[in-house]
Symmetry: C2
Subunit: 404 residues, 2 copies
């Protein structure tokens, strides 16, 4: 991928050193180099044991599903996959009901994904599905921490578990078993995803193309966090819709914190936009609203799929013949460039990420790039990027309500 910055800034001096300092203790950094032996064996056995399973259903919420879905949805339109993937994450009864109506659960295998193992939404949904399937353990596998009670439970019913390293946080876990197991089971090439992430890792840590770009961008975002408090990504591909959701969690939950050395609330607000649709929705606010937003365009250079706008002229609408014979792929990228140009003219802080193709390699790069960027900004904002103490209070209140 390419990343063009439309601003310049001196990189924060100690930033790279501080990233190196946390590299060993924060687990996600090293996921691109993990061994896949166990995972490959799990998938191989699965294919042998369950040749008729058509659907992989992930039961998980937040970090247990957002990254997996981002990658799956990015790739699903451009590949023939061997199985379909679905997600159960909400306690909304309609959503549960809709999925069960829509698919054959007996042709499905359910992956219970919960790092801690006691996520209330996930366990509630599990109980529902488990009882629907007469508590037959063959429909279920588990992805959790080795020491969790969920793993103990899985063992007690004779189901298999795959593990997540303790030092990999939920929202940084998509390149661990949390994402890789379901993705591999539907036939996505996870080796190439890791290869892409590895490329980004090498480029960043070994003085490659991305190092200075990423450090500059992080410095620019952190230095201006009071002025440009909202960081929008404006993607020009529907395939990146769920990447936006993953980004929102990663950015919001990692950086919205009390500072380590003060009690000051800091943080940056993430917003994901999809073009050209959101040109007809959010763009006006970027252009004429309060100037508190930076914009990162994410474009796909080559969609592979070639669809041309037919060369027909509509009576009375001849002024729109300018689109005749243009490929949709070309049109959407011209729309991105026109919007970029219009924002450049009014001096919105901008950068552009270009993915050459929709494939495993480039989503691997993009994911790891955003993880590195989040870590870098977290260091500069002086927050603990990897915890989420702010959500505990609501959980305690809920438990109290349920006990009464």
């Amino acid at each position: 991928m390419k990343n063009d910055l439309y601003f310049d800034i001196d990189i924060h001096k100690s930033l790279f050193r501080k990233i190196l300092a946390e590299r060993d203790s924060v687990g996600y950094y090293n996921l691109p180099s993990q061994k896949l032996n166990k995972l490959n064996k799990f998938v191989e056995n699965f294919d042998k044991e369950y040749p008729d399973i058509k659907n992989i259903i992930v039961i998980g919420i937040g970090g247990s599903s957002l990254g997996t879905r981002a990658i799956y949805k990015f790739l699903v339109s451009s590949k023939e996959l061997k199985r379909k993937m679905y997600f159960l994450e909400s306690t909304d009864p309609s959503e549960l009901q809709d999925l069960i109506k829509h698919i054959d659960i007996k042709n499905s295998h359910f992956l219970m994904v919960s790092k801690s193992g006691n996520t209330i939404e996930t366990i509630s949904i599990f109980k529902y599905i488990y009882s629907l399937l007469n508590q037959d353990s063959k429909y279920f596998s588990f992805i959790t921490e080795k020491k969790s009670k969920l793993h103990k439970f899985a063992k007690s019913i004779g189901s298999k578990s795959m593990f997540i390293p303790k030092n990999v946080g939920g929202r940084f876990s998509v390149l661990s078993n949390i994402g890789l197991v379901p993705l591999a089971l539907v036939g996505i090439d996870i080796k190439n995803i890791l290869e892409g992430a590895k490329r980004m890792e090498v480029s960043f840590f070994n003085d490659g193309y991305i190092k200075n770009i990423l450090l500059k961008k992080a410095t620019h975002i952190a230095n201006n966090y009071n002025t440009y408090n909202i960081n929008t990504i404006f993607t020009y591909s529907e395939s990146l819709k769920y990447f936006c959701e993953w980004y929102v969690q990663l950015w919001g939950e990692s950086l919205g914190k009390k500072q380590n050395h003060s009690s000051l609330n800091v943080g940056l607000t993430p917003i994901g936009l999809i073009g050209p649709k959101d040109q007809h929705s959010f763009l006006q606010l970027i252009v004429e609203g309060i100037r508190n937003k930076s914009v990162t365009f994410i474009m796909v250079d080559d969609f592979k799929l070639k669809l041309d706008i037919p060369n027909i002229s509509l009576k009375y609408l001849e002024e729109l013949d300018i689109v005749n014979g243009v490929a949709f792929n070309t049109l959407i990228n011209k729309q991105a460039k026109a919007t970029l140009q219009s924002l450049k003219e009014i001096k919105i802080p901008l950068d552009v990420i270009t993915l050459p193709h929709i494939d495993e390699l480039h989503i691997g790069e993009l994911i790891y790039y955003y993880e590195l960027l989040t870590s870098s900004v977290g260091i500069l904002l002086d927050v603990n990027t990897y915890n989420q103490p702010g959500v505990e209070d609501g959980k305690i209140i809920l438990k109290g309500m349920l006990q009464n």
Copy 2:
């Protein structure tokens, strides 16, 4: 619907008078009382002429599709409808291709929706579909302004058009033919939608329940727009997912403006969240990030659908038996209340909207309520709520690019 505010404030004195002053010239205010004769006839003829049509496909972008989709998606899980609805709005070739693979276009009728009639995305997609169907006009109807060139074109190929009043802006148009025609064609009770909107209109303009609440809320939002510049809605029903998207356009595009009597950029940033999922994503930022966000909870009191969490105890996970026998409906609302409580404790500006049911009446109320709220805040921010000059520049640049 009910709306509980967790703050108090003196209503801006001239606000109600100013709303009354624009009521006659701004078309959307009076949509709840429109006559449906023409529309009913259109739908009746359609059902006779096309008894076999299974899908209604809206080709439209921004205000031409967001509201329709918001209402359709709100209702679709809770009703048996006579047809399905789909949307074509992006120039992303994959999305176009996916829909065409997925449905039988010969069993479909396409509604071309464009107020101006020369929206580049909409015309491009139309050309593609039109040519796919051998330029057979029977597959198409049009919703546009009476004076648009698109209407002239429709006439020239012998297709029917339904019209939008000139003084109803795109993002305020869902209760005009733009939303009502497609909704009626799939079997949604549009009379009840308008009845709900009418109820809200009467309650607001005739000194009913909502008047002071809405005026207080608008005043609170506008007075604090510098401090609380981000207005999140936190809906606890998946059915409101696309309502959030409609809200984002309505709020962002209406209020992000240069002030009428200065050149100051003002505006408020809308964010739509869905619980409980976004408790695992965005909530941390609300709790510990910069205190620049207000939160409106939107809950559905009774989902109708009763699904209980089974009364089974999982070995080692007995601490989660607290959910046993609880209805999912109850759980999701307790989650909303627990989150609300946790935000109350840290003094985030809050209010709660409660919809008794998922039905036409209450979505009509909610839509009209948000339109009134947007108009009210627009008056207080001293902006032109109904235009969008900021997006023109990008369109001009695009046309230039396409001409070369």
